[in-house]
């Protein structure tokens, strides 16, 4: 390849395309990277205007070393997606400094494409998608400008951006076909770099104040659609995520990773008309953890998911990307009603020895009054209800015997306080109990028929094991603040005014204004469709699309369709090309004339490009003495006919004479 210089007009495009590809990285690149970007782009611009020269080899080496050192120091010992991205961006930026020839331009454009793709790992919302459109357009314009010949007729030609836009539009249909039909494979290898950034969401351990902090976040947790139209009442929407069965005096946490997991096995789904069955589909934001969200009595309905012995839905891999899964639940099914194992029993009763003595004494006292487990629990609930317990997002800071302090002095708490206290009391009284963390409720979008669950819907409640009934849900929060369960957190803390008070601009706060709220819901629906069709478009959804929309049974048919659509495309293109460039149909006269010329050429009189029929016939006549006179006569007639007037009959006669004469040429 020759070293073609980059056209001057292409440089602004290249700089813009590269800058564009960086925008999605604003949230996580260190500040100095932006200074580097500005410096490098500025330098390259000065080279362009002729004020400085290209940096020498030594300076370039120095820049590479400095940038690498900068990245290493900034992300010291945290090798995550962010640091790898920073390296990539630094490399792409420094390439600008030696962007001199067209091939360097290619490298810059291709690197920028990849930088844009990596940006999609961090941001995937609609705006990022729309921005991606703009960025691809910029990148293609830059690539096109690299090849443009700028010297002449600049005004007359279509602009670079229009041409690039045309190419992008033309390729859009094929892109859509590929997007919907290309098989979605499972990850090729397990190890991927993931963002090291802390995510908002449930954590594996629960200290009393943890969930209250989540109450301040309106980030999306997951969305649910109920696939067969039966929707549980709001009070039943307990999305279980984690069982916290171990208490260390301060925190609740899972005792051990789930021992036995019943993985989903592909089996033909039995068609049931079970009224108590809820089938639903969840699109879940990444958590970085393996737990999934499900209603009680769940059974897995999606490859890669399974149900633990505690009745929790889990994923085979940590959920680093937004996923979509189906599940079905029979909330009425008793959980471990047949009895607990010895180990399970011990675990569900274990408490650290010396904490919260007051609470223990209180439990012992109550126990004497209520020998039945159920009575005992009911009494606890009425205790919460009847005493001046206060449901708040701003609980007091508690000391070392936190449950004692909560129950008998502060009496201000969020769901985790109530759940923890109830389980502690139950265990003290010898009733197996555990804390369950997850989400409760959600916002129902009636128009589109889906439920949005946000971080502030995070909730903790208790489960106690009752003989004959198994694990039974007990939610002390419902006793203290029934509106939390009926209407959601916002209503529950309405008096306090603490709902999302840390967030100045939150769309959730606009619920009061009617039309703004409608707008907010519309935007949420848009986001929902974006998630459903773009972000969570995976193998399963693809199967559904193939069978539902296109009526295809399986992949093979899909692949055949994909292959044949390519085939048809190329076939059509070839036909069109052939049709456009087919030789023009010739008149009988021209065919007869060609024949004469061919015969003449064989006899040694080759037609020159500039020969008129008259000249050619003259030459032919000189060379063919036998038919000389006839040829000369023909010449005269042709001239008359061609240049004077058209006459179909005479033309036909002429054609006949031409053919006859052609055969007589020797």
């Amino acid at each position: 390849m020759r070293d073609t210089q980059i056209p001057r007009e292409a440089l602004p495009w290249l700089l813009a395309a590269q800058a564009g590809s960086l925008v999605l990285h604003i949230s996580h690149l260190p500040l100095w990277m932006w200074l580097l970007a500005a410096a490098v782009a500025g330098w390259r611009w000065l080279i362009h205007t002729g004020r400085v020269a290209y940096p020498g080899r030594r300076l370039k080496a120095l820049a590479v070393v400095a940038a690498s050192a900068g990245v290493i120091l900034t992300f010291w010992r945290s090798f995550a997606l962010e640091s790898a991205t920073a390296f990539l961006v630094a490399a792409a930026l420094l390439k600008l400094l030696e962007m001199r020839y067209r091939r360097d331009g290619y490298v810059v454009v291709f690197l920028s494409c990849f930088v844009l793709a990596v940006g999609f790992l961090f941001h995937q919302d609609i705006l990022a998608g729309l921005y991606g459109l703009l960025c691809v357009w910029l990148l293609m314009s830059a690539l096109l400008a690299l090849h443009r010949h700028f010297s002449s007729a600049r005004q007359a030609k279509r602009s670079v951006q229009r041409q690039a836009g045309t190419i992008l539009l033309v390729s859009l249909p094929l892109m859509l076909v590929l997007y919907f039909l290309f098989p979605r494979l499972s990850p090729l290898w397990g190890f991927n770099l993931h963002s090291g950034e802390a995510r908002t969401g449930l954590s594996e351990t629960m200290a009393p104040g943890d969930i209250a902090r989540l109450g301040q976040s309106d980030e999306l947790a997951f969305r649910v659609t109920f696939t067969d139209g039966r929707i549980p009442p709001r009070q039943e929407l307990y999305w279980r995520a984690l069982v916290l069965d171990q208490y260390d005096g301060r925190q609740w946490k899972p005792f051990a990773p789930p021992a036995a997991i019943d993985w989903y096995r592909a089996a033909p789904a039995a068609v049931t008309d079970d009224r108590s069955l809820y089938a639903y589909e969840i699109i879940q934001e990444p958590t970085g953890k393996r737990w999934l969200f499900a209603l009680r009595g769940v059974s897995a309905a999606e490859a890669g998911t399974g149900v633990t012995d505690q009745g929790m839905l889990v994923s085979r891999r940590p959920v680093h990307n937004r996923i979509r899964y189906r599940a079905q639940s029979w909330p009425a099914t008793p959980l471990q009603a047949e009895g607990l194992t010895a180990v399970g029993q011990r675990l569900a009763l274990s408490l650290p020895r010396s904490v919260n003595p007051q609470s223990r004494a209180f439990a012992a006292q109550l126990r004497q009054e209520h020998s039945s487990d159920e009575d005992f629990i009911q009494t606890l609930l009425s205790y919460f209800r009847d005493n001046a317990f206060y449901y708040t997002l701003k609980p007091d800071v508690l000391g070392s015997n936190d449950i004692d302090e909560f129950l008998f002095s502060s009496r201000r708490g969020f769901c985790a306080h109530y759940a923890g206290a109830l389980v502690f009391l139950a265990r003290s009284a010898g009733i197996p109990a555990r804390v369950v963390a997850g989400y409760q409720g959600g916002e129902w979008n009636a128009e589109e028929g889906y439920l949005t669950v946000r971080q502030y819907d995070a909730h903790a409640w208790a489960e106690v094991w009752l003989a004959g009934q198994g694990w039974v849900r007990v939610d002390p929060t419902a006793a203290v603040a029934p509106e939390r369960i009926e209407y959601g957190l916002e209503q529950a803390v309405a008096d306090e005014g603490s709902f999302l008070e840390d967030q100045v601009f939150s769309a959730q706060k606009l619920k009061g204004i009617n039309w703004l709220n409608r707008l907010r819901l519309e935007f949420d629906s848009l986001n929902y469709y974006w998630q459903r069709w773009v972000l969570a478009y995976d193998g399963e959804r693809q199967k559904g699309f193939l069978s539902g929309v296109l009526g295809l049974k399986d992949y093979k048919t899909g692949l055949v369709l994909l292959g044949s659509s390519f085939f048809v495309f190329f076939l059509l293109a070839s036909v069109v090309l052939w049709w456009k460039s087919r030789p023009p149909a010739q008149s009988p006269f021209m065919r007869a004339w060609r024949l004469l010329q061919q015969r003449g050429a064989r006899a040694g009189v080759v037609a020159m490009g500039s020969d008129t029929p008259s000249v050619y016939l003259q030459r032919l006549a000189e060379q063919q003495p036998l038919i000389r006179d006839e040829l000369l006569q023909l010449r005269q007639d042709i001239n008359q006919l061609l240049y004077q007037h058209e006459d179909a009959q005479r033309l036909a006669g002429l054609v006949r004479r031409l053919r006859r004469l052609a055969k007589r040429i020797k």
Binding site: C113, A117, F120, M140, L143, R148, S151, N192, V606
Partner: protein, 327 residues
């Protein structure tokens, strides 16, 4: 890349059949070749990288980006093809030159379908390309330099048309052979005159002495087309007196025959070169000169038309039409 002679010939024959030489050629799918460039291969690498990233992170936006770029790649094949399909190349008229000189071969680019053809590179093999755009309202006339080697009708061989517009992922090219109507005269060689004897063995009456050489300055006269640059009075031109030529004493009106036979033992090409030199010299000296070649005799005269006739006869001598030699 040098192919063996045999293959080159076979390739040339195949090309002649597929893209026959013509004065005006419109590129179509029969005459256009297309292959991905090295950049195109790099692009495929980028696509694979994007696809693997999309699969491993299960990221739909990256899937979409990869598929879009892939589709753009495929579409660019079509766009690159269309960039030279329908481009019409018309050979213009070439002014005669002497062998060894560089001829300017005019080539007009125009668009057969009223489309833009951008950044089209046109070059003879081993020559730097000319880059041009042609469009609905723009039909540029390119002057392609071509170094002639042999006398005879000019046959510049195949011209390469290249383009990788718009995205550089595909490269289209074509080999066309525009037919130029033009002559390459033999390279003139300057040697003293040797004149043919007259019919009686004498010199023709009024024949110049063979040494009749540089003349004395005689005066100034108006410029006449055909005057050599050497005799133009540049000083006077610079003074704004218009084009004037210096007039020298010369043996105006002398008659001579420039004869193939007097150069008898020399090889044909050398003889032609010397005769060419003499024609030019005699023309400049305003002699009436005639030319005798085997089978050709041109009566003495002194006009530009006469000179061109002589030079044409010299250029074409011994070449039957359709000679395949490259000029």
């Amino acid at each position: 890349m040098k192919l063996p002679q045999r293959w080159q010939q076979r390739w040339a024959r195949w090309l002649d059949k597929r893209i026959p030489p013509a004065a005006e050629i419109t590129l179509g799918h029969r005459s256009i070749f297309i292959l991905p460039t090295r950049t195109g291969l790099l692009f495929i690498l980028l696509l694979l990288l994007l696809l693997v990233t999309a699969i491993n992170y299960q990221n739909s936006l990256i899937y979409a980006l990869a598929f879009w770029l892939f589709s753009v790649g495929l579409a660019s094949m079509l766009f690159t093809f269309r960039n030279i399909a329908g481009l019409t190349l018309s050979a213009g008229h070439m002014n005669p030159v002497f062998a060894g000189e560089t001829a300017e071969l005019p080539l007009r680019l125009s668009s057969a379908h009223g489309r833009w053809h951008e950044a089209v590179e046109i070059a003879w093999p081993d020559n730097p390309p000319v880059i041009a755009d042609a469009g609905p309202s723009q039909s540029p006339l390119l002057a392609l330099s071509y170094r002639t080697r042999r006398r005879g009708p000019v046959k510049p061989g195949r011209l390469r048309i290249d383009s990788c517009f718009p995205l550089g992922l595909f490269h289209v090219w074509s080999w066309v052979r525009p037919e130029y109507q033009g002559l390459v005269y033999p390279a003139p060689e300057s040697v003293p005159f040797v004149f043919a004897a007259g019919e009686a063995g004498d010199q023709i009456a009024g024949a110049p002495a063979s040494q009749s050489g540089q003349q004395d300055f005689h005066g100034l006269r108006g410029y006449q087309p055909g005057d050599s640059m050497r005799i133009i009075a540049w000083k006077q031109v610079a003074q704004g007196r218009g084009l004037v030529s210096k007039d020298f004493d010369h043996d105006e009106g002398a008659t001579c025959w420039l004869d193939w036979e007097v150069l008898a033992p020399l090889p044909a090409e050398t003889r032609l070169s010397r005769l060419t030199g003499w024609v030019l010299e005699a023309e400049q000296r305003h002699w009436r000169y005639g030319l005798r070649l085997p089978g050709v005799e041109i009566a003495p005269d002194n006009t530009e038309v006469h000179r061109d006739r002589c030079l044409t006869a010299l250029a074409l001598y011994g070449l039957d039409d359709g000679g395949r030699g490259h000029a």
